[in-house]
């Protein structure tokens, strides 16, 4: 097909052009990348061995990150239940669910780290802006998932309950909820996992958690301690992942 081929060629040209344009800057210098080998080696050398002295900081930071993720997720769940119902095609007319869906898409479009920076400006340093940021950011996705869970249920049992005289609230309770509960549980666990991963770096902008120590140690050139914190973060992610795989298996 000729038309398709020429379209593919144009696309290739565009991509190649974009890559060349990105390189065509005085700041990006391949020679500098190759020349910095010894520097990188030295940097890595100073990270080794990871410092064992900062166990208490790591535990404190991890605990704070975990609290931010838990409370942020709780806030997101609380906000997502009504917003999910409002964003559902089966529960509300287009006049309501379309603007709510647009709002949720806008919320999702703002990166968490940006929300966190704004919240630090609004409420000050510490875990509180982190919690608010996670709750806000996660609601954009979770409310959409909840709405999809509502819309994804089989229609027939809902009609059957309506036919039996059940009110909308009771149809939600006895026809929609039993069908969507496992989906909601799975999505909430998934979002909690994302919240925990994403809140690991919140400390970099002063919004609390273990990220604070990474930033502190890198800025003060204590690379061995930064390495310890990095290892702790990797360990946490692996543990969360394993935990969630086990949990999700129960709800599939």
């Amino acid at each position: 097909m000729r038309g398709r081929d020429s379209g593919g060629f144009t696309l290739t040209l565009l991509i190649a052009g974009a890559v060349l344009w990105a390189f065509a800057s005085s700041d990006v210098d391949l020679a500098r990348l190759f020349g910095s080998g010894p520097r990188i080696a030295e940097f890595l050398g100073r990270m080794w061995p990871p410092s064992p002295e900062i166990m208490s900081e790591i535990l404190k930071g991890s605990a704070e990150t975990l609290r931010i993720a838990i409370l942020g997720s709780l806030g997101a769940v609380i906000a997502s239940v009504p917003l999910g119902v409002l964003a559902s095609e089966t529960m509300t007319p287009g006049l309501i669910h379309r603007p709510v869906r647009t709002l949720l898409a806008l919320i999702r479009a703002i990166p968490l780290i940006l929300v966190a920076m704004l919240m630090v400006g609004a409420v000050g340093l510490g875990p509180l802006p982190g919690i608010i940021a996670v709750a806000f950011h996660a609601t954009g996705m979770l409310a959409k998932f909840y709405a999809e869970a509502i819309d994804g249920v089989a229609r027939a049992p809902i009609d059957a309950l309506e036919s039996a005289g059940a009110s909308p609230l009771l149809r939600l309770r006895y026809a929609i909820w039993p069908q969507m509960a496992p989906v909601v549980a799975r999505d909430t666990i998934f979002r909690f996992e994302l919240n925990l991963r994403e809140s690991l770096v919140l400390g970099v902008v002063g919004a609390g958690g273990i990220g604070f120590y990474i930033q502190t140690y890198v800025r003060s050139f204590q690379y061995d301690k930064a390495a310890s914190v990095t290892l702790a973060v990797i360990l946490m992610v692996v543990v969360i992942e394993g935990f969630n795989v086990a949990l999700r298996r129960r709800f599939s």
Binding site: P157, A164, G165, A166, S167, R173, Y174
Partner: protein, 267 residues
């Protein structure tokens, strides 16, 4: 006495098919309280549509439809009292798969108790009694605590019937209850539905494409073809010509050929 179902000059097009052949075309019929009626016809004759309309679930029709003395509206759902009084047994059962048998049957009671009590699952002793009576009658009391998604097709159908009986409606509407069953099972199910209706003194209407079953289990048979009412008479008076009239394989819209007396129809 007020008719259970009283329909006059009723026409309905399915949404999106307004220009084509109507799903129901100028139907007029009246069903007395306590009557046992079969809607007979091939697939696409309009049986399901007519039943769903009597159940108050269809909109946008023209004509008049009174159920238990209350006029249905073509624009909005009927009031709760009317919905409670018309019970429907869905062809595909329409059960909540992840809930227990007992919960599904209790769902038939949801229109009858205060919303808040129902929301928190606080069913009255009356609800529980009606539920167990219905499950016992349908032969599934021993499955009460099983989840529906663990049941066989036959058991699910009995749950659907029990839910309708627990609702204690004045009219039982059953959509193709035996279309996929072998003859012995079909007899059991139709016996259960029409027997339960007779024992309660309520009206029953079931649809079927099997003339023999319709004539054996209903007092009255209404024949539909292409959305039009073809005949409406006591089961004992249904003639082979009646049956031929709704099943002979002329395409929709073509004029019916003259009926041969004594024509046999294999179904």
């Amino acid at each position: 006495m007020t008719a259970a179902i009283d329909i006059a000059d009723l026409t309905l097009h399915h949404p999106g098919a307004e220009g084509g052949r109507p799903a129901l075309s100028a139907i007029t019929l009246s069903i007395k309280p306590g009557e046992s009626v079969a809607l007979l016809g091939a697939s696409g004759a309009g049986k399901t549509t007519l039943l769903a309309l009597c159940d108050g679930r269809l909109r946008g029709w023209r004509g008049r439809a009174d159920v238990l003395g209350n006029a249905l509206s073509p624009d909005r759902a009927p009031p709760k009292a009317t919905r409670i009084d018309t019970g429907f047994i869905f062809q595909e059962f329409a059960l909540v798969e992840r809930s227990s048998v007992e919960r599904n049957v209790l769902n038939g009671r949801l229109g009858r108790i205060p919303v808040l009590a129902a929301f928190f699952g606080r069913h009255s002793a009356l609800d529980r009694t009606a539920t167990y009576k219905a499950m016992t009658e349908a032969g599934i009391a021993d499955l009460a605590h099983r989840r529906v998604d663990s049941l066989s097709g036959g058991q699910r159908q009995r749950v659907a019937i029990a839910r309708c009986l627990a609702q204690e409606p004045q009219i039982i509407l059953a959509d193709e209850p035996v279309s996929n069953l072998d003859p012995a099972r079909a007899d059991d199910i139709l016996g259960l539905i029409t027997g339960a209706a007779r024992a309660r003194g309520v009206t029953s209407v079931f649809s079927s494409h099997q003339p023999e079953l319709a004539m054996r289990f209903a007092e009255r048979v209404i024949g539909l073809r292409d959305g039009k009412l073809q005949f409406d008479r006591p089961a004992a008076d249904v003639s082979p010509q009646d049956i031929a009239q709704i099943y002979h394989d002329a395409g929709p819209g073509t004029p019916s050929p003259p009926q041969k007396p004594g024509l046999r129809v294999v179904t």
